[in-house]
Amino acid sequence: MRLIHVVLFVLLLIAGLIGWILVSPEPPMSTGGPHPEISGMSVGGDGLARVERIFWLGFVLQVLFVILIHLLVALGVASHNRTAAFWMSLAGAGLVSLWVCWKIFSSYAQFLETGETGYFLGFPIASAWMMFGIWLSGALLAVIYVVGFRRFVFTVEDEAAFELLEAQARRTSRPTPPLPPEQTA
């Protein structure tokens, strides 16, 4: 199975999940309601009631998002550069992202059950996982990009091949847009 087929499979799973969510009975306040005292502000109300039917669907949707992102990153690396080291790095970053995803949902579920939360850097744990953890997921991909730039992204051989291509294009004037008069003057 080729990578693009896996991407399509994940996209179709996501489409199916959206369909499932759309036909699920919707509780009141699923997208919030007006604040009882302050106009222009909204409230979420009873968290447990509004996620009861879709909590696991939401979790799976977020997991599929993480998987899709990492599959697309792999698609962006030329097939000859997808070495074992690349796959190991990407899998590592993917596992960290999935762990972050699990921590967001499990911390939130714990709060819904107990009504109690710890704090990290001034934010409730679940929210801190969302803000800092998701950001970290992207930052890990940045680390792979920077550290592996010459191994996975743009090798010295790739650069030489591109320079050759560019030189050929200059020589043979590949179909370039017609030059405006101020350039030809």
Partner: protein
């Protein structure tokens, strides 16, 4: 110093606007042809591109609308910010290298140029250009309106300009924007991005420090106050709920790499290897600037629910009121000038891609070649697009608020749904066909437009943009797979896609 708060703010804004005019004059001498005007001659260094990438991502919305959203809906909108690191990753892994290669080999001036080269299709070029033009109108109108409203709020605090009208503020804002964009093109924008980017990062950091000191207990007390009023507001999905937020993760995470004003910047760097530096610099810059979005929003919500200040008239007032009450006058001046910087930078980037669509891409689709004397027409069309967008903005404000909203629907989510399949997958998968590209763009336009026109509210806050991006991506792959006409790639494009 407190007595001179308004004067200090006006001083900072005036200095910034004068700076824009001077840079415009300087850049005009360096803009000799349409390549300079649209892609800065593809000769920019890594720091300039990095600052340009993040400062054009974070528009006036990030400084006004973002804190307003946190004020009104708690943590929900933080998903837009958190996933941006993933969006940048997709942009750099999947687009930055090949778009720069195609631009270099084919002398491309715009994203539709690249799309036409990749798919060998004038239809794909034309539809991409049309999508960009529609999106630009909506975006630009909101940016102009935001700039004029902020200017009006600053000037009306003085005795001399107490009754200044919105129209006058639109005229003043347009004066600077047009001069700056017309004279300098993208060269002016890229060099002012140095100052703009630095200003935005500084503002974000200082505002975080200020926000953390508003309450004795710092951000912990802020969170506890919000939690006590409505727990969901402080939790990761905010008041808008789980599905809305995850939908935003898709639209903003995937969609960032489909924003034409952003990916066009990836065509402007001198060397592809500079991307190794541009990516982390952009990420760090965005993180600093986005601190303002979070910190102002949560502090204002806590201050209002805790009874420390009166409720706001409108959620978008969160940032201006915060600056007026809690920030030192000099910091307020820095942030207001950063706000103008953000709006100006994004507006210029939109004007640039909109103008390229009109003078370069649509004529090439219709006539097979672009307009003669492209640089002259680029300057004329820049003025025309600005004036049309300003008219939309004023008409929307006074007569029909849905007009800009409607065009705005063609903004971020339409760019995301229409352009992501074409570049994110299309530049990395040889089997993708022109027919699939056209299908993806048309389906995304139809879904986004239908949801907006019929004011459809889907269960659990599933957004039109979310539906559109998943549909267009799936259709793009499916149509390519089942298209009997195999794509015939030009030899140079074929080679580029191997690298």
């Amino acid at each position: 110093m407190e007595a001179y708060r308004v004067e200090i703010t006006i001083g900072f804004v005036a200095v910034y606007m004068s700076f824009c005019i001077l840079v415009g004059v300087w850049a005009m001498r360096r803009t000799r042809n349409s390549s300079d005007f649209f892609v800065a001659g593809r000769g920019l260094g890594p720091v300039v591109v990095a600052l340009a990438v993040f400062s054009s991502t974070l528009s006036g919305f990030g400084f006004v609308g973002g804190p307003g959203l946190v004020y009104s809906a708690g943590m929900s909108s933080m998903w837009m910010v958190a996933v941006s690191s993933i969006g940048y990753a997709l942009g750099f892994f999947l687009i930055s290298k090949r778009i720069r290669m195609i631009a270099g080999v084919r002398n491309s001036l715009s994203l539709p140029d690249v799309v036409a080269a990749r798919y060998d299709s004038e239809w794909a070029r034309g539809l991409t250009a049309l999508t960009i033009l529609l999106g630009v109108m909506g975006y630009l109108a909101t940016q102009i309106l935001a700039m004029a409203l902020v200017l009006q709020s600053i000037l009306s605090a003085t005795t001399f300009f107490a009754d200044v009208s919105l129209v006058s503020c639109v005229v003043m804002s347009l004066g600077v924007l047009i001069f700056y964009s017309v004279t300098g093109g993208i060269v002016a924008s890229e060099y002012t991005d140095h100052v703009q980017g630095t200003n935005m990062m500084l503002a974000g950091l200082l505002i975080l420090i200020t926000a953390a000191s508003v309450f004795d207990g710092g951000l912990l007390q802020v969170s506890q106050t919000i939690l006590a009023d409505d727990a969901e507001a402080a939790m990761p999905f905010g008041t808008m709920g789980m599905v809305t937020c995850i939908g935003w993760a898709f639209v903003f995470g995937l969609g960032l790499s489909g924003q034409p004003h952003l990916i066009t910047k990836m065509m402007m760097n001198r060397k592809i290897s500079d991307n190794r530096l541009i990516f982390p610099l952009s990420l760090i810059g965005y993180a600093f600037a986005a601190l303002l979005w979070l910190s102002v929003g949560v502090v204002m919500r806590a201050a209002v629910v805790g009874g420390d200040i009166s409720p706001l008239d409108a959620s978008d007032a969160a940032a201006p009121v915060f600056l007026a009450i809690f920030a030192h006058p000099i910091l307020a001046g820095v942030v207001f000038s950063a706000l103008f910087a953000a709006i100006m930078s994004t507006s210029d980037a939109f004007l640039n891609i909109g103008t390229a669509a009109v003078v370069h891409d649509i004529p090439r689709m219709l006539r097979g070649h672009s307009l003669n004397n492209e640089l002259f027409w680029a300057r004329v069309v820049t003025v025309l697009i600005t004036l049309v967008a300003a008219s939309f903005a004023l008409y929307s404000y006074y007569e029909n608020a849905r007009l800009v909203a409607l065009l705005g629907a063609f903004g971020w989510s339409t760019f995301a749904a229409a352009i992501v399949p074409l570049v994110v997958i299309g530049l990395n998968w040889k089997r993708a066909t022109a027919r699939a590209a056209v299908t993806a763009v048309v389906s995304s336009l139809l879904i986004n437009f239908a949801v907006e026109i019929f004011s459809m509210e889907l269960p659990y806050g599933v957004s039109g943009g979310f539906l559109a991006i998943i549909t267009s991506l799936s259709l793009f792959v499916l149509v390519s797979m089942f298209d009997r006409r195999k794509p015939m790639l030009a030899a140079d494009i074929d080679r580029i896609m191997d690298l």
